[in-house]
């Protein structure tokens, strides 16, 4: 067998494509859900850590540290295989979404915090001086400015979450990678794996490019 029939076998690719697309769809759904929940959760954690009562701050700091240190795969396996022992049985999809969200929140929390920290003190003072509530200060003044700063690192984090969805194949979720290994076994040919890799690149390369563009633009406005 030559290289092309081994790795780039077109008939096998076409035959496995429905399976791959089925997996791709599930990968996107899992990634999208985890990204959105992680973005929302991280914002809550960041605000809680910066402005919450002392006890809450301590809890959030511990949470963020733990989930930045714990390998995602280890956490995912615990959620799926260990939690049933205490009566919590989640589906593979729910387990993966939960594990990815909890970890992603820890990372996005740190990103938001850095972004809010970067807003000059004078902005807070001006908002306070006109009598804005803490909520309005965040909504109208601080967050709109912080968001611009955090979009590149948040996009980066989103890419990582999307890539980490492949870990869900370990808990038997039929995501893109799982379907590809399935198809590979079926066809006794690695072409579906190569196909899956291409689909991942198709999904993520534009996002990677986007981050580069964001960073370039932000760098330019930063120099102004």
């Amino acid at each position: 067998m030559d290289l092309v029939t081994t790795f780039f076998n077109w008939p096998i690719f076409v035959r496995s494509l429905p399976l791959l697309l089925d997996g791709l769809w599930r990968t996107i759904a899992l990634g999208f859900l985890s990204i959105v929940l992680g973005l929302a959760g991280g914002l809550m954690l960041a605000l809680g850590r910066m402005y919450g009562p002392r006890f809450l701050k301590a809890v959030i700091i511990a949470y963020v540290d733990v989930f930045r240190a714990l390998p995602v795969l280890v956490w995912l396996v615990i959620v799926y295989y260990a939690l049933p022992f205490v009566g919590i049985s989640l589906s593979p999809f729910a387990s993966a979404a939960f594990a990815l969200t909890t970890v992603s929140s820890a990372y996005t929390a740190e990103i938001y915090r850095a972004g809010i920290d970067a807003i000059p003190r004078g902005q807070f003072e001006a908002a306070q001086a006109i009598g804005l509530s803490a909520f309005d200060l965040m909504r109208d003044v601080v967050l709109p400015q912080a968001i611009r700063i955090v979009i590149p690192p948040l996009t980066n984090n989103s890419i990582n979450v999307m890539k980490d969805t492949a870990l869900a194949s370990v808990v038997a979720m039929p995501d893109l990678l799982k379907q590809a290994t399935q198809a590979q076994a079926l066809a006794a040919n690695p072409t579906p794996l190569i196909g899956a890799a291409f689909l991942y690149l198709l999904l993520l390369l534009p996002l990677v490019r986007l981050v580069a563009i964001f960073e370039k633009r932000l760098g330019r406005s930063g120099r102004r």
Binding site: P120, E125, A126, Q128, I130, S133, Q145
Partner: protein, 250 residues
Amino acid sequence: MTTVTSPSPIISMRGVTKRFGEFSALKSIDLDVAPGEVVVLLGPSGSGKSTLIRCINLLETYDEGDVVVDGIRVEEGRNLRQVREEVGMVFQAFNLFPNLTVRDNVALGPVRVRGLSWQAAREKAQALLARVGIGEQAEKYPIQLSGGQQQRVGIARALAMEPRILLFDEPTSALDPEMVGEVLDVIRTLAGTGTTMLLVTHEMGFARKVADRIVFMEAGEIKEIASPDRFFTEPSSERARAFLDAVLNH
């Protein structure tokens, strides 16, 4: 030092002390300001002028004493927003919101704090911007304006809340010299309109013209309170005389 009392001060400071670590920024300040009065704070850098006016809306917390604004003690808690609604502030660095248009910079407070609709608040903002001479800049973003224009937006933003008290923290210190005049002109039109004003500035000529009273500070203490004419012609404290010599004869 001298404490000037008026029948019903709108701002009353008693024994106000502020420390930054070992350094005492304010040492037991007593000061009363009458409604409608224009008070200019003078003194060398680091004498505590800015810290003093920032205690009035609690941008700076104080360690001892009382600051009372319109009968309300200025402190963290429920009443603080009420105080801040009555006290407008204009900053040295303008501190405009870069994410909002000039018009919305001015309209934001009235919408969020006074409960105006955006439409009503924007109309009001437009009128205020016209009043400070930059009505045609309303659609722009702060960064597109000159420093003098930005500071006039800052003034309009403070005025939009219809405050009874206006605090100016070195409003012209960050401006290019040719833009100082336009900002001072706007401030001068506000003096005598019934709004109580406290002004920290290094513009001596302006201070003399606009002030009802001069408060001279040094090293966190009020060294002298006098009418502008008296202060600039025959200051009673040696410190004030030295200060005036330094700033006027260079």
